[in-house]
């Protein structure tokens, strides 16, 4: 393992920083908790914001058809998606 933070932790930090979740710390986000609707309660504007941030952070390209519920359902699923492409 490298010393860089694990992908899930980098995603959590991006979520908190890029979406301005005041009063929220990265470690407060559960790996399996739903990101949208229930759970974190993010919406489609947040999804767009998150796509931009993830693309820059990880140097990947996220196509619109990949924006489905499965990939973006939790930190865990996002992490698997990103690790398969980096």
């Amino acid at each position: 393992m490298s010393e860089a933070p694990a992908v899930p932790n980098r995603i959590k930090r991006l979520i908190v920083e890029s979406l301005h979740l005041e009063g929220m710390k990265p470690e407060m986000i559960e790996d399996e908790a739903p990101l949208f609707g229930e759970g974190l309660g993010l919406d489609s504007v947040d999804a767009l914001e998150l796509v931009v941030a993830l693309e820059k952070e990880f140097g990947i390209k996220i196509k619109s058809q990949e924006l489905g519920r499965e990939v973006f359902s939790s930190v865990s699923s996002l992490s698997e998606f990103i690790e398969a492409r980096t």
Binding site: S18, E22, G23, V45, E49, V52, A53, K56
Partner: protein
């Protein structure tokens, strides 16, 4: 919708406001009474490159606990927050804890919605600073955003409408709300307007050379233009009988509204004042009040040479020989021009003046203190003018495009 096809008398049961004088009706009335202007150097955005450098900025104030809601800063633009705060204050004053079981509607005016946040986005985005360019900043851009935010926050599921007609938006929204309560379309109207300072309007009015380098001087000799302001004002309107039935006291009766267009020019008013007079006459007719019963006028009074001259001609048309005698104030001398929200905050100022039976003054200013001899209005200076027993008042909003609106409020007295 449940149209009952009736014409009901309409009461103002609550008011709320955010302005350069502070967050809330308390600081607003205290500042208005004192004739203290909120127009001063401001920090909302870097204005060094602009031609003028003043505005009545609504600096962060006490949000009455609203800021503890995680949606407050994250999901609402500044104009949305002004609106939600003013609506919360107005509903609390009306004693309406929840609107979810009421036939309620929102009627709002705005000129630029979340333009300030959109400008912030593009300022970052166009410089390639993607980390600080937030897409969320674009989400509230539409002019309907403040009214929609109020509807979402308070769970209003009846009609929710925004009117954007430049500087008469707030007054026209109140007129629409009056119709909706009268007709039985709604039992509660949350009505008003909201606008925040932004570079688009700041640069635009400066390019038109309609901004005074000092605080604006409505109706004064040597006046050179308007000053900018920001904020929101909300009036809760209900059928008079409904307010009385629950033992509450109306703040005023909303007696009538009227509008008329100059059909003259994109930005300049018709110098004859015919359109502005037609709006005032329509509002008085709607209220069933002769002009002789109007105790004071809250003028549009932007302080531009053209507006104030045209408004004086309109006052002459409506009030005849009384035009120079009727007590007159211009709230913009204290709050600046709230653009799409000016009609609503001036309506609130008018209601407060009726309620307290005194007319708020404008400050004497070092430059051009004297009233323009060409427009000899009875401008109330420095100290509030007691008006015991005052019956009714007119508030005017005269906008770009020649869109004129007038509102008539009557003092509530238990009789």
């Amino acid at each position: 919708m449940n149209h009952k096809a009736v014409s009901r008398r309409v009461a103002v049961s609550g008011v709320g406001a955010v302005s350069g004088l502070g967050w809330g009706i308390g600081p607003l009335w205290e500042g208005l009474r004192a004739g203290r202007t909120a127009i001063r150097p401001f920090e909302r955005f870097d204005n060094t490159a602009h031609r003028t450098h003043l505005a009545a900025e609504a600096a962060d104030g006490d949000s009455n606990g609203l800021a503890s809601d995680p949606r407050w800063r994250r999901l609402l633009s500044l104009a949305d927050r002004f609106a939600v705060f003013a609506a919360a204050e107005a509903l609390a004053m009306a004693g309406l804890a929840s609107l979810e079981d009421s036939e309620a509607g929102v009627f709002f005016g705005s000129s630029t919605g979340g333009m300030f946040e959109s400008e912030r986005f593009f300022n970052e985005f166009l410089r390639g600073r993607w980390r600080s360019a937030k897409l969320r900043d674009l989400a509230s851009q539409q002019v309907n955003a403040p009214g929609d935010a109020v509807a979402r926050w308070f769970g209003v599921s009846g009609p929710v409408r925004t009117i954007s007609s430049a500087c008469s938006s707030g007054a026209l929204a109140l007129g629409a709300a009056l119709d909706a309560v009268r007709s039985g379309e709604v039992d509660v109207a949350v009505a008003g307007g909201s606008d925040s300072l932004c570079q688009l309007t700041y640069a635009g009015f400066n390019a038109l050379r309609s901004v005074d380098e000092g605080p604006c001087r409505p109706f004064r000799a040597g006046r050179e233009g308007m000053s900018f302001g920001e904020g929101s004002a909300v009036l809760v309107l209900e059928p008079l009988e409904r307010v009385l039935a629950r033992g509450a006291e109306p703040l005023a009766e909303f007696a009538g509204a009227g509008s008329a267009c100059d059909a003259h020019h994109m930005t300049a008013p018709d110098p004859s004042g015919a359109g502005a007079a037609a709006a005032m006459e329509a509002a008085l007719l709607d209220a069933g009040l002769p002009a002789g019963e109007v105790g004071f006028v809250n003028a549009h009074g932007t302080g531009t040479p053209l507006n104030d001259a045209a408004e004086w001609r309109a006052l002459q048309r409506v009030f005849g020989e009384r035009a120079g005698e009727i007590p007159l104030t211009a709230t913009k001398a204290l709050l600046g021009h709230l653009l799409g929200s000016s009609g609503s905050i001036e309506a609130v100022a008018t209601v407060l003046c009726l309620r307290h039976e005194e007319l708020h003054p404008v400050p004497t200013c070092s430059a051009g203190a004297a009233v323009d001899p060409e427009l000899p209005v009875s401008l109330v200076l420095d100290r509030p003018l007691p008006l015991p027993g005052v019956k009714a008042a007119v508030s005017t909003s005269l906008a770009f495009g020649g869109s004129n609106a007038a509102l008539v409020f009557s003092r509530w007295k238990d009789s």
